[in-house]
């Protein structure tokens, strides 16, 4: 039932009304709204009950194991939320003067800039991008600004591996570039011959994720960096998979010029049902002048915003204020709790969990896409055999997992591997949970063989069965309308 269907005309939640209706003067009639917007008229209890019940229809990290590849669904510490929501932080207006009302929050943001520079091995940091995709935009816009500042404006292409996240090519286009795909070889590495053939005076840069979305570490990264740099292009690091190497390998050491981090992955800020994220960018020497503003500066006495006059070559602003500050605070609190020693352990245990899960799943009969390679923080199973023999696809396995109380892994991404499940357990899951997951996948495999309808018809136990996506797109129903 929708909240609108609970609504009764004239029902008012008086506790949330700021007093009696005041006199309405000074606004000429021609500006005034003549109808009422269709907002629910419900009591506070009805609203609270409705949304509490809706929450119970969700899977979440707090309630289920969430082995969603490339999304790093690790535990979001409650302490981070509580401390980021202290009244002093929440009440601070973005335009409050920093000298008298902002040294506390700016100190946290400054410290976070320093931490992110260290873990990536880079020279400068801007926290302002609101999400990974906006961080990518900032990174590629900086690459463009760098070439333009050198009068090197003939560069028209950004190279993107075919296994890349969809945001990579979409970002290249938003920055006025063409995206050119580079194929992957049979071991999951970038096809070097194709790369060498693709680079040239038109190459503005390359966008890479390392470990790649195939769950393997790109071993020849230094060689790739050399090839792209020799052609005059720059290297962009998509930080989606940084959890795999946090504290172990710094992207700066691999030769990257710019990195975006997904704090909602590696630094455990909440996914919130789809956001808000935070996608800070860090850069090496060459791109320092172009970082998006504002950034936090510190002269040894006072923290302040660095803005247009401090950074005349900046690509500019990406949001009205300074990005998703409340999320940045959560990441900062998380980073302080982990500390330097805790960060390395993230990579260690994320990798241990992934390799353990891959080994155990292979042992019970599943096929890994890259069995000769080490798993990083994630790995790929291919269910092409199961699909061919029993007609049970990767999607069917994913949906059946929901019945057993596990969120599905990422399916059908990357696009290169047929019938794939991309599995990322993260470091915060216990061995018992991983073992239970293996048992359930093995059981689903038995079901697929013996009673495939149970698998292809899943899920059976959730609030809804599989939804009619075709109807959803053809007969668009995007907003409720009051029955006539």
């Amino acid at each position: 039932m929708l909240i609108f269907e609970h609504s009764r005309s004239g029902r008012i939640n008086a506790a949330q009304n700021p007093g009696a209706q005041p006199a309405y003067d000074g606004i000429p009639d021609r500006f005034r709204r003549k109808d009422r917007p269709q907002l629910p008229e419900v009591s506070e209890l009805e609203a609270v009950r409705h949304y509490t019940r809706l929450s119970q229809k969700n899977f979440s990290i707090d309630t289920q194991f969430y082995p969603l590849g490339s999304c790093t669904m690790k535990y979001n510490p409650r302490g981070c939320n509580t401390l980021a929501m202290l009244p002093g932080f929440l009440a601070r207006h973005p335009q409050a003067p920093t000298a008298t009302h902002g040294q506390g929050v700016l100190a946290c943001l400054y410290d976070l800039q320093e931490i992110l520079k260290d873990v990536t091995g880079m020279k400068g940091c801007s926290l302002t991008p609101a999400a990974g995709a906006q961080g990518e935009f900032a990174g590629v816009a900086m690459i463009r600004a760098y070439h333009d500042a050198r009068g090197d404006s003939a560069r028209t292409e950004i190279l993107v591996p075919d296994a890349a996240h969809g945001t990579n090519p979409a970002t290249a286009v938003m920055c006025g570039y063409e995206a050119r795909e580079i194929p992957t070889d049979e071991n999951g590495d970038v096809d070097m011959a194709a790369l060498k053939a693709a680079v040239g005076p038109h190459t503005a840069g390359i966008m890479l994720t390392n470990p790649s979305t195939l769950g393997v570490f790109e071993r020849r990264i230094k060689e790739i960096a050399q090839i792209v740099h020799d052609a005059g292009g720059l290297l962009y690091y998509d930080g989606a998979n940084l959890n795999a190497i946090l504290g172990k390998v710094k992207p700066g050491a691999m030769g990257f010029d710019v990195v975006h981090l997904n704090l909602h992955k590696t630094f455990s800020t909440p996914h919130g049902g789809g956001g808000p994220g935070a996608g800070p960018v860090v850069v090496g020497e060459r791109l320092l002048p172009f970082l998006p503003i504002p950034m936090v500066g510190y002269d040894g006495h006072e923290y302040r915003w660095l803005e247009e006059k401090d950074c005349p070559q900046s690509i500019g602003r990406l949001s009205a204020h300074s990005g998703n500050t409340g999320i940045l605070l959560r990441a900062y609190i998380y980073a302080r709790m982990l500390g330097s020693e805790g960060m390395e352990r993230v990579a260690d245990y994320a990798t241990l969990n992934a390799n353990y899960l891959m080994a155990r799943l292979q042992a019970v009969g599943f096929e890994a896409a890259f069995p000769e390679r080490r798993a990083t923080h994630e790995f790929i199973l291919t269910l092409k055999k199961e699909a061919k023999e029993w007609g049970t696809s990767a999607r069917d396995f994913a949906k059946r997992l929901l019945d057993y109380g596990f969120h599905a892994p990422t399916t059908y991404f990357p696009l290169l591997v047929p019938e794939c499940l991309l599995i990322e357990p993260t470091e915060t899951e216990s061995r018992e949970t991983l073992d239970a997951f293996v048992d359930v996948l093995a059981k689903i495999r038995d079901e697929a063989q013996q009673t495939p309808d149970v698998v292809t018809g899943a899920p059976h136990t959730l609030p809804v069965k599989r939804l009619d996506d075709v109807k959803a797109a053809r007969e668009l129903d995007l907003a409720w309308k009051k029955p006539a």
Partner: protein, 469 residues
């Protein structure tokens, strides 16, 4: 080890299952020269208790000043239930609802949000939100360029009455796609003079941006502006404050046919000020433009048994399907903020939101009346306003605001950098959360600060010079 559950026995058993000697061995594919040698700038780890002490100190450092700044972020009351529910783990720690069957809570909530925003702005459809109002306006501009079938122009008429920071953000985001922002001056009334647009007759524009209320708090002649856009083959983009939409004509009803796209900052709907984020941007449009909309959209459909259910739809517009041909690179929405906004709108309802809007208007009116009683403070524009007003004082605005801040009063937004032609001007706002006593406190401090400098310029200098506007 914070948040890592493994015991020593676990590690041994797991390494044995893998067939590796140590955890280090799992990194053997990484060339040795790439391995880091520590993190010198990252401090050692802290317990939750220790970090709690640090964060309490820092939060306290920023104080709890009395706020009369608006300028794109508004200090509204947020019902306690909003964040109690939004931070339930089932909302807080859920992923994007790609697995629809396991995400009906988030999906239904987004469908309700889309319904509320469509209705609030008088439009047909809404997406599931963008990052914030400023980047939302940039997306609206890009969308208008794609959606305008009558003109292939890549020029946008952007009034100077749009928030200066929004204009900067739009510039950053659209500049690499060959889109030109043409600045439109404001009149002495503090808004766009429809007559003034005649000078652009015959020129091609993809869209005209129409703020309501505008950055000065002044109301724009939205009907005439929308009709002008349509008469000149341009789309009309309404940039609106959502609280105000409870009582002012929404973009969908502007002029003869309504605006084409509405966009704005969602912060007033339940998001705390929080130094500027996270907030969310909303965007709504006429049905005919829905396939040019950026970002996630939720649709209602049925499941295999014919039961009602909700799912992400029209995903062929999005980057994870269309890659380089997507309508935007945006991947996330501001899910948690939209969760809060939906609960907020359900709790206050249409009547409550209208009362909040009225109370903001009335308090701002009371603030302006009280402050303009002070010698040397005057209202700059006499046009109708909503809940923000430009005041001019006879001393440097920055200095006066700093003196007020020392008294724990945030007296307004300094306009002198962005609008030097207005002189020592500040933009003030009093939401429903300000009381008469708050206003009196502000007035008394301002009066004292302004009168302290007896040698300051005389008040007759407040009269605007000829031709400055």
């Amino acid at each position: 080890m914070p948040f890592i559950p493994h015991t020593e026995d676990d590690v041994k058993a797991m390494l044995a299952a893998i067939g590796a000697d140590s955890i280090e061995a799992l990194f053997d594919e990484i060339p040795a020269e790439l391995l880091a040698k520590g993190l010198p700038k990252v401090p050692p780890g802290m317990s939750e208790m220790a970090v709690s002490r640090l964060m309490h100190q820092r939060a306290a450092q920023d104080g709890m000043p009395l706020c009369f700044i608006g300028a794109g972020a508004y200090d509204h009351h947020i019902p306690a239930a909003v964040w109690e529910i939004a931070t339930r783990g089932e909302f807080y720690s859920a992923y994007t609802p790609y697995q629809a069957e396991a995400s009906q809570g988030t999906l239904q909530l987004l469908y309700e949000y889309q319904t509320m925003m469509s209705s609030l702005t008088g439009m047909d459809v809404s997406n599931a939100s963008l990052y914030d109002g400023a980047s939302g306006l940039a997306e609206a501009v890009l969308m208008a360029v794609r959606a305008n079938r009558k003109s292939r122009s890549r020029r946008i008429l952007m009034p100077a009455t749009v928030h200066p920071l929004y204009r900067k953000v739009v510039q950053t985001i659209v500049q690499n796609q060959g889109i030109e922002l043409v600045e439109l001056d404001y009149s002495g009334s503090g808004n766009i003079e429809p007559e003034y647009l005649k000078r652009y007759a015959g020129e091609e524009f993809a869209a005209l941006v129409i703020p309501q209320p505008n950055f000065f708090g002044v109301l724009e002649e939205v009907d005439a502006l929308t009709d002008w856009a349509h008469d000149n083959n341009a789309l009309a983009i309404g940039l609106v404050n959502p609280t105000v939409m409870a009582v002012l004509t929404p973009p969908g009803q502007w002029g003869r046919n309504g605006a084409d796209i509405a966009v704005g900052e969602g912060q007033p709907l339940g998001a705390p000020l929080s130094s500027g984020g996270p907030y969310f941007g909303f965007i709504t449009c006429k049905q005919e433009h829905v396939r040019q909309m950026p970002g996630r959209i939720v649709g209602r459909t049925v499941d295999l048994d014919g039961r009602e259910g909700f799912t992400l739809t029209l995903q062929a517009r999005e980057q994870h399907i269309r890659r380089a041909k997507a309508t935007s690179n945006i991947c996330s929405n501001q899910g948690l903020m939209v969760t809060a906004a939906t609960i907020y709108m359900a709790l206050v309802g249409a009547e409550g939101l209208a009362r909040v809007a009225h109370a903001c208007h009335a308090n701002t009116r009371a603030l302006v009346e009280r402050l303009t009683h002070i010698e040397c403070v005057e209202q700059v524009f006499s046009s109708p306003y909503f809940h923000e007003v430009v005041l001019r004082i006879n001393q440097p605005a920055g200095e006066v605001l700093r003196a007020l801040a020392v008294q724990d009063i945030l007296g307004g937004y300094d306009l002198s950098a962005d609008y030097p032609e207005l002189g020592n001007a500040i933009l003030v706002c009093a939401t429903e959360t300000r009381s008469e006593a708050d206003i009196e406190r502000y007035a008394q401090h301002l009066e004292r600060i302004l009168s302290r400098r007896k040698d300051g310029p005389i008040c007759s200098r407040l009269v605007p010079k000829e031709g400055t506007l």
